[in-house]
Every structure is written in C-alpha cells, then in structure tokens.
C-alpha cells in the first residue's frame, strides 16, 4: 500500500472539488458573458460524462468491456423522439406524449430490457469475445433503426418538441445545462456508492478473479447481469437527455465508433475511478472542440495525444489525482 503524504492527499482532494465546481461554474460564467455556445458544449459534455460514468460501472469496476454502449444512448434518445413524433404526427397513441416523466421512464425501461436480453447472451462469453458481441448487438440495433423509415431511417428524426416537465423547461439552454450537470453529479455519487457497496465489492472480485468468485459460491452471472442492466439504464437516461439536447436523433448515434468514443473517455480518464469518466469526457470534448476549430486535420494531434497518454500516463488521467487514494479504512 502506498502511503501518501497527507498534504499532497489534501491537494488532490481539493483538485477534485475544484474540477467539479469548475464544470458547474465555468460554463455559467461564460454564458453570462455571452458565450452561450460554451454552455451547450458543457451540456453535451455533462451528458456524455453521464454515459461514461454508466459504462465505467461495468467496464471499470466490473471488467466487462462493452463496445456497444452507444446503443443505450440511442435507445434513450429514441424513447424521447418516438413519443414526440407520434404526439405531433399521430399514430401509436399508447406512447404519443411529450410528458418528460413518461419519456424518461420509457428510456429507462427500454434500456433495462435491452440490457437484460442482450446481457443474457453477452455475459456468457469473456474478454475480447465480450467486446465484439456487445458491438454486434449495437450494430443490429443500428441497422434495425436504419430500416424503420417511419422514424427517418438513416436520415434520423428531428425532435420538434422537447420533454415537458412541471416547473422546468428544457428549451432554455441554461436549465438544460443545469439538469444535465446536476444529473451527472447525482449519478457520479450514486455509482461511487455502488462501487463501495457490498455489490460493488462482489463486482470488483469478479473482475479480479471470476473463477474464484464462483468457487466461493457466487452466482457471478447474476451479479454481472444486474451491473450490466444498471449501466445500461444510466446510459439510457443519458440518451434521453441527449435527445432533448440535440433535438435530433439518428442511427449514427449508436454506430460502433460512438461506442468507441465512450470507451475511450473512460479509459482516458481512468477506469474504476469516480472522477475518471468525467475527466475523460472533459478532455475528449474540450480537446476535440479546440483542435477541430483550429484545423480540419485535428485528428492528427488528437491521435498523438491519445497515444501519448496511453504510453506515458498509466491508469488514465485520474491516476494523477487518485494515486494512493484508494485505501481501506
């Protein structure tokens, strides 16, 4: 066990708080000065960070590397888009609604169901096989959505009305941002609790040595499945927010490259850490935004940065913050 010098430890704790506060305050400041675009950027960042936090639960804590998690973003977004579409254009009265609670409920339910059903198959295999089979299911969903011309097929669907809630209006960029960023904080806190709970410990054990956990008497499949469903639900919720934010959804959202991006955010930030997914999302999106506004060849420095981080910063960016922090009491 590495024992950290306490002042350094405090510094890192302060650094974390500063980052969290900055995620909330900096966009607000910028928007007050009229740079409303940065508010949108921060909203997108928060939403993708939620998805990354959800993915981290299984990828980081559970060692299940899902390469298909963008599927849940898509499911969540379509759960907003489809009811709104029918509300506007008629048909399918069962779901036609702009009620936000109904839409988010639908997003959560559909994600849970998709995670449960695919999990039954995916969790039977391990390692790279798992990576690929999760991708396969996302791709199937992708092509399914492409084929449904009612919802725009390949071209996607414009969401004409956002989810409606009492008291808050998501049409206001400021409220949209606050809803997203507060959801992010709550979910980060929730996942942190889960990771430290008895369930989280079992998950960690499964990641460390599944055979041993079975021989100890754990039905590991069931624990993995529950984690997989929780993770899917979190991403589905993020998808519902994303649909509301972009007001446009297309199968493109669940393309494997998008799943890859989520994975990279988690790995980049540092797996199995509370701050990792957020740091990864910040880095990914801010760097992408800055570089792409400077040059269309921004993939070059971006790629070099990824390689550099992998080669020289072991354990992701949050290792700079968390090293030596993970202690038992």
């Amino acid at each position: 066990m590495i024992v950290m010098n306490p002042t350094k430890n405090t510094t890192k704790r302060v650094a974390k708080v500063v980052i969290l506060v900055a995620v909330l305050i900096v966009p607000l400041m910028l928007s007050t000065f009229g740079f409303t675009f940065y508010l949108d950027l921060a909203t997108r960042l928060s939403i993708l960070a939620i998805a990354a936090v959800g993915l981290n639960l299984i990828l980081g804590y559970g060692g299940m590397v899902s390469f298909g998690h963008a599927a849940y973003l898509g499911i969540g977004a379509y759960a907003v888009g489809i009811p709104a579409h029918h509300w506007l254009y008629g048909g399918l009265n069962m779901v036609a609604s702009t009620n936000g609670f109904l839409q988010i409920g639908l997003a959560i339910l559909a994600s849970a169901l998709f995670a449960f059903l695919t999990g039954l198959v995916c969790l039977k295999v391990k390692g790279v096989y798992f990576i690929m089979i999760t991708m396969a299911f996302a791709q199937m969903l992708y092509y399914l959505l492409v084929s449904i011309s009612e919802y725009g097929g390949d071209d996607g669907l414009v969401i004409d009305t956002r989810s409606e809630f009492p008291l808050i209006s998501l049409d206001d960029p400021l409220q949209m941002f606050l809803v997203s960023v507060l959801s992010l904080f709550i979910i980060m806190w929730g996942v942190r609790r889960i990771a430290k709970s008895q369930f989280g410990m079992v998950l960690e054990g499964i990641k460390g040595n599944e055979a041993r956990m079975i021989s100890l008497g754990y039905n590991t499949f069931r624990y993995k499945l529950v984690a997989y469903v929780i993770s899917g639900v979190i991403c589905g919720f993020a998808g519902a927010l994303l649909g509301n934010f972009t007001t446009f959804i297309s199968p493109e959202m669940i393309d494997w490259a998008r799943s890859g991006e989520l994975m990279f955010m988690v790995i980049l930030g540092g797996v199995a850490t509370t701050m990792g997914p957020l740091l990864g999302a910040i880095t990914f999106i801010v760097v992408e935004e800055v570089l792409s506004s400077l040059t269309i060849y921004w993939h070059l420095p971006f790629g070099l940065m990824l390689i550099g981080i992998v080669l020289f910063v072991r354990g992701g960016l949050s290792s700079l913050l968390e090293r030596g922090q993970k202690t038992d009491d």
Partner: protein, 393 residues
Amino acid sequence: MKKLLVSLLGGTLLATSSIAADVKIGFVTTLTTPAAVIGKDMENAVNLAIEHLGGKAGAHDLEVVFGDDGFAPDTGKQVTDRLVKQENVDIVAGYIWSHVLLASRKSVLDAGKILISSNAGPSQMAGKLCNENFFSASWQNDQTPMAMGEVLNKAGVKSLYIMAPNYAAGKDMVAGLERTFTGKVVGKDLTKWGADAQLDFSAELAKAKASGADGIFVFYPGAAAGAFTKQYHQAGLKDSLPLYSVFSIDGISLPKLQAANFSGIVGSKVTQQWDPSLDNAANKKFVSDFKAKFGKYPSFYAAQSYDTINMIAAAVEKVDADMSNMDGLRAALKSADYASVRGSYSYGANNFPVQNFYLREVVVDDNGDWTTQVVDTVLTNHVDPHVGDCKLK
C-alpha cells in the same frame, strides 16, 4: 486542470473572434472523410467567389467561416450550432447531404437566421418543412432524376435496374425517376451509405446484369461514383446494360476516371441544371478562373457554391448589410437577381429554383481533359413536384 480548461477555452475565443466583418457567412460542408473531395471543391468555389467580389458585397466586408460536418448528421448539427451561437454568423449556407441539412435546419431557423442549401434538396424541405427563411441555390432532389426519366423515355428504354445509396437523397432520386419514367423497374438496390458506405457492388451488378434490363440508373455521389463506374467498366456491362446516372459522373470523379483511363465513361449521359459549357458571361468567367486556379473543371457542387455566395452578396448589398431587415433579405434572395452561372432562373413558392435541366455528355476537351457538354435541354423552367405540400405562398 481548471487552469488548463480555462486557457483552452480562452484560446478558442481568441482564435475565433479576432476578425470582424460586416456580414459573416457560415458555410457547412464535408472537409474530412473521403467525401471531403466534394467539400474541397465547394470551399475552393466559395473562396473564388469571395475573391471575384473583392471580399465585399457593395461596400460591406464579407467573411466566410467554414464548418466540417464529418459526413454525419449529428456532427453537422453540432457545427451548425457552433456557427450560429459561437461564431454568430448572419447566414448559414452549404450542406452537401440531405440528412445533414435535415438535422441542422432547426438550429438555424429557430435562431431566426437565413439558411441556404448549396446542394442538398430533400423533398421534405420543399414540401411540408418549407420555410420562408430557407432557400435552395441548387435544386430539389427529385428534379434531376425526373429529367433523366424523360431522357430514358425518349431513348426508348423499357426496363430499368436502379441502384442508389440508402439515405434521404438516394430515396428521393429513385422516387424522382419513377415519377417520369414510364417503363418498368425490374430491380432496385439501396446500398449502405455513410462513413462506412458499401463500395463493392459486385453482388448488385451481377443481379442487375441477370435482370436483363435495358439500362441501369444509378445515383452515387462523391467517392462512391469512382468505385461504381470502375466496377461497371470492369464488369463489361457497357454494351449490354447502358449506364444512366445523376450526380455521379461529374467534375469530381472525371479527373480520377481519366487518370485511371476508364474510357468506357466517355460518351455516357447525365442530367443536370448546370454545365461548364453553358454559354453565359458569369459561367465563362467562373469556369476559366476556376480551371486556372485549381487545375481542373469545377463540379456542379462548386458552381452552386459559387452561386450561393453571389446570391448572398447581391441580397446583402440590397439591404445595405442591415441583417435585421429580414423582409428585405428574403425579398432580395427570392428575386434571384444576380448573375447565376446556370443562367437566369426564378424561385417557386417553396423557395426552390424554377430552372432548366440539361442532358450532358462526357467528352474530351481540346486539351485532352475529360469534361461534360450540353447536348439537349430536357426540362424548361421546371417546378419541383413537392411545391404543393408547401404552405408558403
């Protein structure tokens, strides 16, 4: 980290807000992925138009900010948002792809700004989704294949095999052709499109050949055109299954086809509302300067982008750069009162052009370069078929 964040954000602010012009135009096109070959052509044409205008609309400075849609609707919408909200452009133009335009339209129109398509012309935006602030500088998707349908009827083609990519414009093109084509469609393939589009058409071509059709109609814009024509050429279908295409064999693909010497293409026929050989002063200047500067013929994408900028400049001049005068701007744009390289045209109720469509043939020019030449006028002052669905008057 916070410091880093702030300085990074600060960096972008500085990088983007240093120049101030009277009127700022956002131009969204594809600058990455293989489709960037189209975007580059458009960017060149826009820059050429600005150069011809001396960077000014009348007395007012013009500035163009380019945005890359990455060939994906959501990226396109994101970049549109950035242009509208961060760059604070006055007008948004560009858009090669129908699905990108459909995804992005709300961002511009909700902000109460003018949106001009330099290429994409999805049926929805000509019909139900038409908007007083949206103008097309190109055509509605159905029109060009409708012209081709007429050509096929005249040529006595009785049965036809159809291939197109599976996305908004692909479906519109097929629908457009079927509007006018009176023969029988014996087979139809919609192939995978997007960043990982299908480029090996062996299965489809074999089917097409087996179908015994009199001809094959395709729509493969951009990079896919090269792949398709080459495989068509290699499959030796030139005589048994004549090729009729729209938006596929053009200024983008011809130089490449010429470099690889796919001579089977010379003589093939396409329809279009514009051609480098059209005889008007604006077009002559555009084509010769473009050739001199970039060493190749401009594509129709380039021509429409060049028109877009000139059309905006004319309107800006009319309202004296008062971009809050929306009524004035709309009226000026709708008058189409500028020197278009396609010759003069007018606007229909849905703000889509009412214009001629020509039959063009691939020929070898005096310098040995491959280009196209007008051989016939197929449709005159043609109105798109969706105008009836549009609520505008």
